[in-house]
Symmetry: C2
């Protein structure tokens, strides 16, 4: 049955995957439900949009984007490739394994531009409030058209939430930070290394943001980068100019005090302290409440909200896999909504969720986590016709990537991998990453390496 | 009749004035309605709270505060004094006319601390969505308890909105600003001059933010301050180190191009481009839609929403008068809700609003605006028992203040005024403002001037 209405909140990689999933069904000549997608930003692409703004957007909404200048993929593109639209199909030529933001954005757009997806999306529109109407078994959603400053209501039989979880900063307080006499910001508001050239930086946190912002600032000329961790250091081999220290206990003026008794003066502090899952538009009984983990509680198959089966979430997991995981989730969501996948009753769903969460609890290392998420996607993909691909080989690439980073955090992006989708071997980029200061698509697709003299080997360690 | 329920959104100066108005009624032995007040922040005081955070708060909500370090009142305290609680009553001694933030915050708290107002306020709670139920003539308000991550509903007969309008940045785009290689922020996220010491600053805007941030950065050691105006310069006599230029046309790298054909390089850009009235929790037919002006449309007596008489707004005007204007509005709102003030039918209210807006349109100069707002308050105060005070004398002080600023923007805060409430003559502060780098309450109430050598006259001009 397709006589129903689906609302999708968010037109980032998850929301676009949902639209694509329905589109592929329609292309087969099958009927699809009525679909509407709403996006807060003025363009699709979610996190892959770049904005110069910080804090709130043009219309005063909390900014979605945590994107910054000079961001290059921090994992091989071969691990995030769509199974139904390869990089080679998009660019018509092999490219390197670690493209910059603009190139990845172009790729995401490429697949969806071939469809009429844009017609389904209403931009500059934020979901303001959701009520679930038990009698009608429908969601009433109040939207706010930011450009018109007008609100309106829509009713949906299914609601798909793809609003991401890397937008709402988690920003703990450190004693004395109120009086730190330099820039203090969360990674969410970091827009590139330029303003930190020649500065001594304190980065608090030990996940991807700290690692990537730290290395970017080192590359672009910060004086020094100190990364402060709570439990465990990132532990890679750092070049001279980047170091790790245990947690900051407090600050006095521009001096930071660390747990190991040392002190150091800084010009700026960047809090790389992660993000919160936040759904201000949902009543709390429809809210996913979880920290960032591989298997959030309360989501059957990582997708169907266990307290209300008509509410679906995409992409709410901590992520090794990204675009292709969102795809497998979207295909699952589609077939579930179309009635092709029957889900068991709640007690059995609870057991299934529990099984996965227990499995996650048994994982310890990076490779364990990769294996876990690989198994999760294998399970999902078994339910639908999403093009199958060699997931074990992708898992191997993830493990190799983890290893590359440990050996040399400055040149792991110069490594190349081979697509499991179409066998394309990536090309070595014309310029070593540490020498490539221009992250534009134009420059990326140019053949010329930069000045040979610039390419003289430098041992950063 | 007092058998009704009032919801107040916001516990800043406006919300607290509303609580105080009811409290003063209760103290007379009169019955008052059931009252609940909700505040997004973890303390009262609204804009007068200081937070080190920028962008969004601890729980991911857009930050209310635009407050920064080293902020001193930019108008004489004698112009904002409560008629029923003087500075002298609070501090027990005369103080200067231009106190720093902490001192003003202490004063605001002083009056309300003497009551049980805190019991009426639920902190860390944001209004998420309002529906007006025609049949019940009530508002259903969904609140979000940020600490518990839980939502709940309340029903009110009257809703008083006191959420301010200096929280949502208005941040226009300038070509090339995306690639400016230094800090770019709105005044809303400015937290003090420290991070701009020795920097060349571009401030865009020509209102209070630009004037005050510019002068603070000059005082605290920025290399230069350039203020770029759209229509008219601030036009005061600037010292060497601060100048005004016409509007930026675009930026290239760190170079700004101005309308007069000149260019200049900068280290940082601060957009002092004002704020938007924003009410995300209200459906658009209950929203006040206005720019920042002395008499916003659609508010009868500047308080009662003309499309729904049970919805009240406090403090939505552009402001010369502040705390005592909010008081007169709150007293009016109280007596209106208590049924003591009858308002005419809509067509007559329209005429009244129109009359005031026409009057506003006829004002041109600063002194004209002061006279307008003085007349507005005189009108309001005539309806209630709010203690009357010599408004003409306050208006004279505002005009004198405007003049002081024009003569010397660096020392106008050293001038002293006399309270119209109790005749107290302000004291000259122990240290000239330009020499006073410490804005703490402790330092402010200390007798000692700073090192005499430091006080040697400097001619900044």
């Amino acid at each position: 049955m397709t006589n129903f209405k689906v609302g999708i909140i968010g037109a980032g990689p998850s929301g676009l995957a949902m639209l694509r999933a329905f589109e592929s069904e329609q292309k087969k000549g099958n009927p699809i439900p009525e679909i509407k997608c709403y996006e807060k930003q003025d363009n699709w692409g979610g996190m892959w949009n770049y904005t110069w703004r910080t804090g709130v957007g043009k219309y005063g909404e909390p900014l979605h984007g945590s994107m910054y200048k000079y961001l290059w993929s921090n994992g091989p593109k071969e691990c995030l490739e769509f199974a139904d639209y390869t990089f080679t199909e998009h660019f018509g030529q092999p490219i390197s394994s670690y493209p910059p933001r603009e190139v990845l954005f172009d790729y995401i757009q490429g697949r969806i531009k071939k469809s009429n997806a844009r017609d389904f999306i209403k931009f500059n529109t934020v979901a303001r409030w959701v009520d679930y109407l038990e009698d009608k078994q429908q969601f009433r959603v109040v939207f706010d058209d930011l450009q018109k400053n007008e609100t309106f209501e829509e009713y949906f039989d299914y609601l798909v939430v793809g609003t991401g979880h890397f937008s709402t900063p988690n920003m703990p307080y450190f004693k004395g930070i109120d009086n730190f006499p330099g820039a203090v910001m969360h990674a969410h508001d970091f827009r590139g290394a330029d303003q930190f050239v020649n500065q001594k930086l304190l980065l608090i946190g030990s996940s991807y943001s700290a690692e990537d912002i730290g290395v970017q600032c080192f590359k672009h000329g910060s004086d020094s980068v100190t990364i402060s961790y709570r439990s465990n250091p990132i532990g890679t081999k750092w070049p001279e100019g980047i170091k790790e220290k245990p947690l900051v206990t407090h600050l006095e003026g521009n001096t930071a005090f660390f747990k190991d008794g040392t002190t150091e003066d800084f010009d700026a502090v960047i809090l790389c302290t992660g993000y919160q899952h936040k759904f201000p538009f949902l009543p709390d009984n429809l809210r996913l409440k979880t920290k960032n983990r591989l298997y959030p509680d309360n989501l059957y198959k990582g997708v169907v909200f266990n307290e209300n089966e008509r509410l679906l979430f995409l992409g709410m997991q901590d992520q090794y896999y990204t675009f292709n995981m969102f795809d497998t989730q979207a295909w699952f969501a589609r077939d579930y909504m179309l009635g092709r996948i029957q889900i068991p009753e709640k007690s059995l769903r609870d057991l299934d969720i529990q099984k996965w969460m227990t499995y996650e609890d048994s994982t310890i290392t990076g490779p364990d986590h990769v294996d876990f998420q690989t198994d999760y996607i294998k399970d999902l993909i078994s339910y639908t016709d999403y093009p199958s691909f060699n997931l074990d080989k992708v898992a191997d690439m993830f493990k190799s990537w983890l290893n590359d980073k440990e050996i040399n955090i400055l040149n792991y992006r110069d490594q190349v991998y081979t697509s499991v989708m179409d066998g394309t071997q990536a090309e070595t980029h014309h310029t070593p990453w540490m020498k490539e200061m221009d992250d534009s698509l134009e420059r990326y697709l140019t053949e010329e390496p930069i000045d040979e003299k610039e390419l003289d080997k430098v041992n950063y360690y």
